[in-house]
Amino acid sequence: MPMSLNDLTHDDVRAWLDRALHGQEPLPKLTQDEPAHLGILRLEKSLMPRASEALRDACLNLVRRFCVNGSGETIYSEELFSLTSAFKLPEAVQLLAQASHRFPEWHGTPLEVRLAVLAMLVDTPPPQSVDFWISILRQDKENYASLALSGVLSTNLRHAISLLPEMPNNERAGSASVLKLDLACDDLRSKKKTEFIHEISNVLSRCGERFRLPVAAWVASKEAPSNISENSQSLVIALQEFLGIESSPRTRTPKLCHCLGS
């Protein structure tokens, strides 16, 4: 392990990082097969601030190198983007966002690398605009649709819903969309959640049949609990009528308090 990383020049740190991303430097790994970027992140936590900053600068420089023409080995590039995401480098994010517009010209850049760039752009702030993701979707609907949906969901739920009819017509795309919609739904308050699910339900008829199946099942599973909450209200009223004074504050339990809205 390079105990001397704290003493390296900026150029040496960049060279070290290049080798480390290629798996050619000893790293503090949890397991032998752990990806290099996780070992680098673990090491970074023990560095002095100056060396840590040099490491981030080195990462940015390697991203700049990639953005020239999208060349680089697949595993190396994936490691680089994962590291970039973990470091949260806004300038690197913008460089890669701009570079992604050139994907159609980069015939030698493997699909896995392009997907790794787009996934990093979804996961890493600052978020890209809806227009950005629409342009990505237009490049290659079959391969980029899922990530484009994730990107739009992070900033504009309504627009994301409008994209659903454009998703590839297969069950896998439907299942992936369910996972994303469900995460987005988790962040909403009750009333917004109901509206969100209702709006999704309204576009389903325009979606491909195979895509629609898992999404419709998910919508149905989300709509069912609203019936339960209606029943809960009826139950509360019935309990109050039956128990009379026994449902008064001195006999309340936390669960009953919640139902009575206190």
């Binding site: 032998q32 994936e78 896995e112 996934a119 979804v122 899922s146 795309a173 992936a176």
Partner: protein, 264 residues
């Protein structure tokens, strides 16, 4: 005193033997590499012919690779899975491993081929930890690789049909201590995966060797030359945790995964 397996293998190398001794001697100043050279000297899992072949490859790489460590790793990668295979009738039915949560989220993302991002995968792993039903997440989880290139797995030697982690304390620190996961940090979450050997297409299970371990300094060769499998080296003997069996197998997807998986 009889020669060790390593010394026997070196004895068969004539001109290369000193070159190899010198390369390993140079590692004594590095705490991690010195452990690797120690492991080489104590290896018992390799047949003499395989050991000699590994060392010959190492010697040839020394002249062409950048550093002696690079040469060692390059040589190891040409000699994987050379430890004895557990006969199929004795194979454990259930195997398991622990890995970093970030690592497995990465694996789920990669296997999804653009369907999920790493953060989405991580959120779903956290949501479904301990669950017997994965709903729409299941196909994506089962596509993920159990490990990269080569999987280190453990099992219960007293009952091959059971979850090997059931006999360990259900706590992160005890798990990584027992398995010898040395570079653990306080903010590293672990995911424990259990799978059916049969449902993972019954890959051959090998006793690990120094070639499988490459430059991982927390590996220790089993001292028993006749052992059918390796043993982990608990990070702390004072913990009272016993070494756990370990085998290596080729990388496989999680198609045979048994639920629930757990995150610690």
């Amino acid at each position: 005193m009889p020669l060790t397996v390593y010394e026997e293998a070196l004895a068969g190398l004539s001109t290369n033997a000193q070159q190899i001794r010198d390369a390993f001697s140079a590692w004594t100043s590095d705490s991690r590499l010195s452990q690797v050279s120690c492991n080489v000297a104590n290896e018992t899992a390799l047949e003499p012919s395989h050991f000699t072949a590994l060392l010959l490859t190492f010697a040839s790489k020394l002249t062409s690779s950048g550093t002696s460590k690079d040469a060692w790793i390059a040589a190891c990668r040409e000699h994987k899975f050379k430890g004895r295979v557990i006969p199929s009738e004795n194979c454990p039915l259930i195997l398991g491993r622990a890995k970093g949560l970030e690592h497995h989220a990465d694996a789920v993302e990669k296997a999804s081929k653009g369907s999920l991002t790493k953060q989405e995968a991580k959120k779903w792993l956290l949501k479904y930890s301990g669950s017997h039903s994965l709903a729409w997440f299941e196909p994506f989880l089962r596509d993920a690789l159990l490990g990269n290139f080569l999987v280190w797995a453990t099992f219960n030697p007293d009952n091959h049909r059971t979850n090997p982690f059931d006999r360990l304390p259900q706590a992160r620190e005890e798990i990584y201590t027992a398995l010898g996961l040395g570079d653990f940090r306080a903010d590293d979450a672990l995911i424990v995966l259990i799978w059916s050997h049969l449902d993972t297409d019954s890959p051959p299970l090998h006793r690990p060797t120094i070639a499988d371990a490459e430059d991982f300094p927390f590996y220790r060769p089993c001292t028993d030359i006749a052992a059918a499998w390796g043993l982990t080296e608990p990070l702390s003997r004072s913990s009272g945790l016993q070494p756990q069996p370990e085998v290596v197998m080729p990388q496989k997807t999680s198609k045979g995964l048994q639920l629930p998986f757990r995150i610690f």
